[in-house]
Symmetry: C2
Subunit: 228 residues, 2 copies
């Protein structure tokens, strides 16, 4: 029955409309301005319609925007990474590993700067998205793996996954501290240089400082590089 199909199409369309409207509203006025009433008004339906699409309410809508953001971020990181098709202005294919890392880092920071509200949905707001578990959505894994691809060639004797976690943390920290006005804007390029110069350098054999004196941060064996 075609009528049923049309209904489902309309419904899917309205589903998209909610997500894109929420995202646009957040980018324009910040997430604190995204209320269910205002969102309902923008899509020209009443509030309960939102809940017929997103049983989890507002958090689930934010989560949908976040998921969209993870997919976009992963795509942009891949485009800047070592496996990039015919190369980009920033990173020739199979280019010098640190240039690749610089390109990926730049892509990450550019994404966050361009879509601050989406970045907030991904990292600052509470969403029902699952992490580091079996049902972690694919885009989340892919984003991590895109960074991993740029970091691994520089890992040396360090665990690539762990180094990737640290790089990711640095990028994320740069984003949030910059956004909060905690870092000097004019030094952004210098920070990127420092990041690549320091992180992107292979290990020499272990140094003298002692990390075993109870720091209280986990004590399991350091292995594995699987993240999400």
């Amino acid at each position: 029955m075609a009528a049923q199909d049309r209904k489902e199409r309309d419904r899917a369309e309205r589903h998209r409309l909610i997500v894109t409207t929420a995202r646009a509203l957040a980018e324009a006025e910040g997430w604190e301005a995204v209320t269910t009433r205002k969102l309902a008004e923008r899509i020209e339906y009443s509030q309960p319609v939102l809940y017929s699409h997103f049983r989890g309410g507002k958090d689930e809508i934010v989560g949908a925007v976040a998921l969209e953001g993870f997919a976009e971020l992963a795509a942009e990181l891949r485009a800047a990474g070592p496996a990039a098709g015919r190369g980009t202005p920033q990173a020739p294919p199979g280019g010098e590993p640190r240039a690749v890392l610089a390109a990926v880092a730049t892509a990450y920071l550019a994404f966050a700067a361009r879509s601050p509200a989406v970045y907030d949905a991904m990292f600052r707001l509470d969403t029902p998205l699952a992490f580091a578990s079996d049902d972690t959505p694919a885009p989340l894994r892919e984003g991590f793996e895109a960074i991993l691809g740029a970091v691994a060639p520089l890992a040396g004797d360090a665990d690539p996954g762990t180094l990737t976690e640290v790089v990711w943390a640095t990028l994320h920290g740069l984003v949030t501290l910059t956004r909060a006005g905690r870092l000097l804007p004019e030094q952004a390029a210098a920070r990127l240089t420092v990041l690549v110069d320091r992180i992107g350098r292979e290990n020499r054999p272990h140094s003298g400082w002692d990390n075993s004196a109870g720091n209280g941060f986990g004590n399991g064996p350091d292995n594995g590089s699987d993240n999400g």
Copy 2:
């Protein structure tokens, strides 16, 4: 008039009571549970009393907790840093620079792990605290400078302030991503090792990758090490 003095003492005491109660409530149940009504009930006064102390309302109360947190963090970082009096178990005075960096980083992560709600007040929530401006509260500068003290000996030909910003960003990123369940808990110690091994290594002369191709992240001269 002694009566007036007593009043002011009582008022100051109640001011403290509000801040400590808000902090305790946040640590126990999270900031989303800290409502003006619940807070007023806990201090056994009505809501308007809160506003007689904090004209800026809830945000200003969060800001007071944050400021307290910055003071504590700065003190703990200093205690772990190179200028530490007679030395600590983690860092002997004037010890090997990378051991000092490891001790400071550990102190930072330990603080965030021990006081997550305070850390949220400092970095995640909106507060009226000023940053990177002339009226930045002293504890904020001091925290940055404590990290700077541990990082500077390892700066090499990099700008110490910039390197400190990157280290801070890494620590902050590790805290937030760990808290959000985005990083593998069992690799915490390994991440610290990687951080110290990579960041805490002096620069050799500049490398081959090109950072000048439009990354859109500031283009001013890279100078100055003054932050807040």
